[in-house]
């Protein structure tokens, strides 16, 4: 790889930022360093002095050059990558997380639903207690020495099968004792059926709850419709506010989707903040390119500018309210995941699988219903090892586009479902997604740089 491709530099929110791609180190630099880096490694110091003589003093260039060399020698600038031979990933085929589709049915009819309004292109159905128990047993059985196991109750709308959820959580508690495991239960809900009882249960037993709502009433109601084709905002918002107020310190996310109809989605994040929510995620719609609400090439510029604009608002809010979180601007440069995780990505199809109400296994919730991707079932286990192998192999080192991308250790190859929806191939990342992700990372790091002082 060209040595110049070992760093990524950009200016945003008043900071010149330099990422050392392979070590993950991040530096904030003065203009003089920023300019020298255009020539460093290609030209000698004398040549660089000459090239920049109109802009900077010789002495300053020499000093700045010296600082760059120092960091290079420390291995945190222009550092070399690790080779793929050094990476050992899930050799024992341990499974640590399941997405349980407890209901392939929904009480909303959202226009953009990737699950075909809840049924995932199959019959509307609810998971039985028997299938749910088998799924938890399957997870324990395949989890090896891993203690923390994750189970997300998903749908459709999981609250349509809440009695089963309660029983499964209790069954999980029994399994924990017998097998020395710890389940982290989470739930993703549209909130229609939230009431005192289930809120109490969720707040007691779920480590995280993802609350689906899109933002401003007009935006939300355009996409998230009730069965009688009315807007859902007025029904949902007060329930989510109540839920979050009761939740105390436990995690939650109010999570919306943006489409081509709200490219000014930062207003939806700010709307949520105004309504009292602090942990917010607004994400681009996942769909095939032919849909009117889909994100298209021509929207990219607007979206990237929107992220930049929002990053400025975000810095201002964060300075006053540290609890405010936008999922895609969160980044922890020192305590983040290890390089192995960054190389292998989300783990779908290998460490993480989705279970249908009938007990079929798929690489993740996004692939459910596409029979080509069926991996097996909770009774017989994995029956299609080829799919597992294919997903396990989809690392940033094996994807041509990722291999030379500066963002590879942050996004880790992106979403397989996005890649498949757009290119029919999980090894070819979704280009628009890449552009958005790169901008989000740049914003996230520039936010840290601004809050660092």
């Amino acid at each position: 790889m060209d040595i110049k491709e070992r760093i990524h530099k950009y200016s945003l929110n008043g900071k010149n930022i330099v990422l050392d791609i392979n070590s993950g180190a991040v530096h904030v630099v003065e203009d003089i360093v920023y300019d020298i880096l255009d020539y460093y490694k290609t030209y000698t110091l004398d040549e660089i002095i000459k090239l920049l003589e109109d802009k900077y003093d010789d002495k300053d260039i020499m000093e700045a050059y010296e600082e760059i060399s120092l960091l290079e020698n420390e291995g945190i600038l222009y550092s070399e990558g690790v080779s793929i031979e050094d990476i050992r990933y899930n050799e024992d085929n341990i499974i640590k997380a399941l997405c349980l589709h407890v209901a392939h049915d929904c009480n909303l009819r959202c226009n953009y639903c990737f699950a075909s309004q809840g049924d995932f292109k199959g019959d509307r159905s609810l998971m039985s207690l028997e299938v749910g128990k088998k799924a938890l047993e399957f997870l324990v059985k395949h989890s090896g020495g891993r203690r923390n196991l994750e189970v997300d109750f998903f749908g459709g709308e999981p609250l349509m099968n809440f009695e089963i959820i309660k029983k499964l959580v209790m069954y999980g508690k029994d399994l924990e004792k017998n097998y020395n495991k710890h389940f982290r239960f989470t739930i993703t809900t549209n909130g229609v059926l939230l009431d005192e009882d289930n809120m109490k249960f969720i707040n007691e037993y779920m480590d995280n709850v993802v609350l689906s709502l899109d933002g401003r009433k007009r935006i939300n109601d355009n996409m998230r419709r009730t069965i009688t084709d009315e807007g859902s905002y007025d029904i949902i918002l007060p329930k989510f506010q109540k839920m979050v107020a009761k939740r105390g310190d436990k995690d939650y996310y109010v999570r919306g989707t943006f489409t081509s109809y709200n490219l000014d989605f930062s207003n939806d994040v700010l709307h949520f903040y105004d309504k009292g929510f602090k942990k917010i995620s607004i994400e681009p719609v996942v769909t095939s390119p032919d849909k009117d609400y889909g994100i298209k090439e021509e929207h990219i510029d607007t979206i990237l500018k929107e992220y930049e604009k929002f990053s400025k608002d975000y810095i201002n809010i964060k300075k006053k309210d540290d609890d405010f979180l936008f999922f895609h601007f969160m980044i922890d440069l020192d305590q983040g995941p290890c390089i192995v995780k960054r190389i292998v990505g989300c783990g779908a199809g290998s460490e993480y699988m989705a279970v249908t109400p009938e007990g079929e296994l798929y690489p993740c919730h996004q692939f459910v219903g596409d029979k080509k991707f069926k991996i097996g079932n909770v009774y017989e286990g994995i029956t299609n090892n080829e799919i597992v192998k294919e997903f396990k192999n989809a690392s940033v080192y094996n994807k041509e586009k990722c291999r030379s991308c500066w963002a590879r250790f942050y996004c880790s190859g992106g979403c397989h479902a996005n890649a498949y929806n757009h290119h029919g191939n999980i090894m070819k990342p979704y280009d628009i997604g890449c552009e958005m992700e790169k901008k989000r990372i740049e914003c996230a790091i520039s936010i840290l740089a601004n809050l660092y002082e």
Binding site: E30, R146, Q335, C346
Partner: protein, 46 residues
């Protein structure tokens, strides 16, 4: 340093030694469910 402020000097390559234990949260379970963002996850083995 006069011209450079390092805001993170940690080295990803150091995580190779004990990396890959798998105890961390599955990325997609955390909030997103649609777009993989691994860099914002926490390591649970430190």
């Amino acid at each position: 340093m006069k011209y450079i402020k390092t805001i993170s000097g940690s080295n990803l390559k150091d995580t190779l030694k004990k990396g890959g234990c798998g105890e961390c949260q599955t990325s997609c379970q955390s909030a997103c469910k649609t777009s993989c963002t691994v860099g914002n996850q926490k390591c649970e083995n430190r």
